[in-house]
Symmetry: C2
Subunit: 362 residues, 2 copies
């Protein structure tokens, strides 16, 4: 029996444009062999850096391309977060961000995430006693919750950042995978005070194995991170950046994004339908894009027990507690990016069986 | 007038097998699309990891593939070197290693490098008063000096590491670029006490822009670095590792290495001939491989002045002082990897003119 994994936030191979990547690789070596094969510098492959700058309407000096956006996070944290520094994160938030901030000895303050994004009221309360250096925000289709930050709250966050002198780290890898509704302007694009550093990635639009991400931010800060990057690895991967550049500039990107959106919308629908049918007691907000959905089960359900019962049925997910410093013992994250609608239907049916097997009241 | 650069340790495009890389990229996407495009894990692309393990005759669990070997160095230093820890390096040594160790607050002890490698006598003297955590050694065609560590000294270093309880970091990116003479067994291959961590790279055999390097070492240590790597970037670049794997396993590597060796031997000869003819007062030891040659000029020559005089003649090199904590003001590093024999002849002629222009006695 094949395992059905709702655990890993990664696309299945059928929605990766392998043929397009092959063509892009050929073009990369044919059109710019010197640029693709040489060291280059830590700012990244020059044509891709320019492409990103144009996409975001900024100067090229504001862009730093990195080996995946996690590496961008690591550089930014290395520059801005020292042991004891207060940092705001969403509750729940991406487990690796939480881990890396803990490893740096940050003083982490988790602020409630609502279906329209971080609670700015709760944040204001926190700001009465805490002076954060940084607030880490995943604005679109948040990992792990799938929620999107509203336009109003984006504006409020920008005001608070100025008022309380902190940097907003807008971590936005899922922005292009919107199934429905209008996109909302990034905080970065509305920032007139140099308060926002923006990160994104090609992992969700091209493929994760290409490991290309980037930072966009105030020029002085990007320059400082550039020095850290040079000392760490001289330069990020030029071959893969040249491939991404060819993929993007010869029209592969739009088709790839369309494919991913169509497939993921169907997968999201499959999760919603199956949950509604099999686990009517589950609470969730259907996401308008991205990879993830946050599910709250009745309080009596212990998600650590459920994880075992599900694994016995070859179904995997990540416990909500992994994304929190405390609480959440009845919550879980479902990633629907790597499973087909058929697998989702079967997997959720088995997950419901696993919930029943715990013998707790609904 | 085109600049002639002896500054950067990088190959010129004419000795990179671009066609071979293009074929390897096609094969990577055709033969293993899932492996090349997915996240994978921090240990690296599984088939390449296995290929490296076989090359070195070790277990796969002893290998960690990274985004270039500088990144491997950074991980190793993060694990082993804390502020105040004593570290042995060669004098002169690679400037980026020196910088990164200084940035970590290491207590750096430079030990004289001789034409047959680090002075083990001088090291023994140092070890009377210093208890290092780590000794960083570039055994073959050292950067910046071009010297190679003798078999006898390799044995002695292994004994000293056991006796004085330190780790040898054997940093070996140039090993495959030997023009003449027999290769010498690595310290890693002779280590029975788990004292050596070995690093190498495909930058000099495939191309630098591919950014694939690796560590080989004791399994427990590799496991610890694996955790740091996961937290830093989830996984190294899978697309480029899959390309390297196809390049290596379908026979491209041997041809590429043969091309590089032939070209670089001719470039080395061109440097030796031109220096002998134009700058008979220069002292150097012709390297048997690699990219670099260390040149000592008469003491009256100030290399900072010479750098300016050479730049006025469109000739670049790196001052010896960049590779040292003190001294070396009459020394310089010539990289002959990126310049043709004709450029070398012209460049050394102009360098000699620049020396004469300083008006100091030979």
């Amino acid at each position: 029996m094949a395992t059905i994994s709702f655990a890993r936030g990664a696309p299945s191979l059928d929605i990766v444009d392998v043929e397009g990547l092959k063509k892009a690789a050929n073009l990369a070596f044919e059109k710019d062999p010197a640029g693709a094969t040489a060291y280059g510098t830590s700012v990244g492959y020059v044509p891709l850096r320019k492409w990103i700058a144009e996409k975001h309407g900024v100067e090229v000096e504001q862009v730093l391309v990195t080996n995946g956006s996690m590496q961008a996070d690591a550089f930014l944290f290395e520059l801005l977060v020292q042991a004891g520094d207060a940092v705001i994160v969403e509750s729940p938030t991406y487990d690796r961000t939480l881990l890396n901030l803990r490893n740096r000895g940050a003083d982490i303050h988790m602020v409630d995430l609502e279906t329209d994004g971080i609670s700015t009221d709760a944040l204001e309360t926190t700001l009465k006693t805490v002076s954060p250096k940084l607030a880490h925000i995943i604005p679109n289709f948040q990992n792990p919750a799938g929620y999107t930050l509203s336009a109003e709250k984006r504006k409020r966050l920008l005001e608070l950042a100025v008022e309380h002198d902190f940097t907003i780290f807008e971590d936005d890898p899922y922005v292009d995978i919107r199934f429905e509704g209008d996109s909302i302007d990034s905080m970065f694009s509305q920032d007139t005070a140099g308060r926002v550093v923006y990160a994104s990635s090609f992992s969700k639009t091209v493929c994760p194995g290409i490991r290309v991400g980037y930072l966009v931010g105030p020029q002085a800060l990007i320059k400082q991170i550039q020095t850290i990057a040079t000392n760490t690895y001289i330069s990020p991967n030029m071959v893969s950046q040249a491939i991404v550049y060819q993929f993007a500039s010869t029209g592969g990107m739009d088709g790839a994004i369309a494919t991913v959106k169509t497939a993921l919308k169907a997968r999201r629908d499959a999760v919603v339908n199956a949950l509604t049918r099999e686990l009517p007691e589950a609470k969730f907000a259907a996401p308008s894009g991205g990879y993830f959905m946050w599910v709250e089960l009745p309080e009596a359900v212990d998600v650590a027990e459920l994880e075992k019962a599900a694994a016995e049925r070859d179904v995997l997910f990540v416990k909500g507690t992994d994304f929190l410093l405390e609480g959440g013992s009845n919550t879980l994250r479902l990633a629907f990016s790597g499973v087909t609608p058929e697998q989702i239907d079967e997997g959720i049916t088995k997950l419901a069986e696993a919930v029943r097997s715990l013998g707790v009241a609904a």
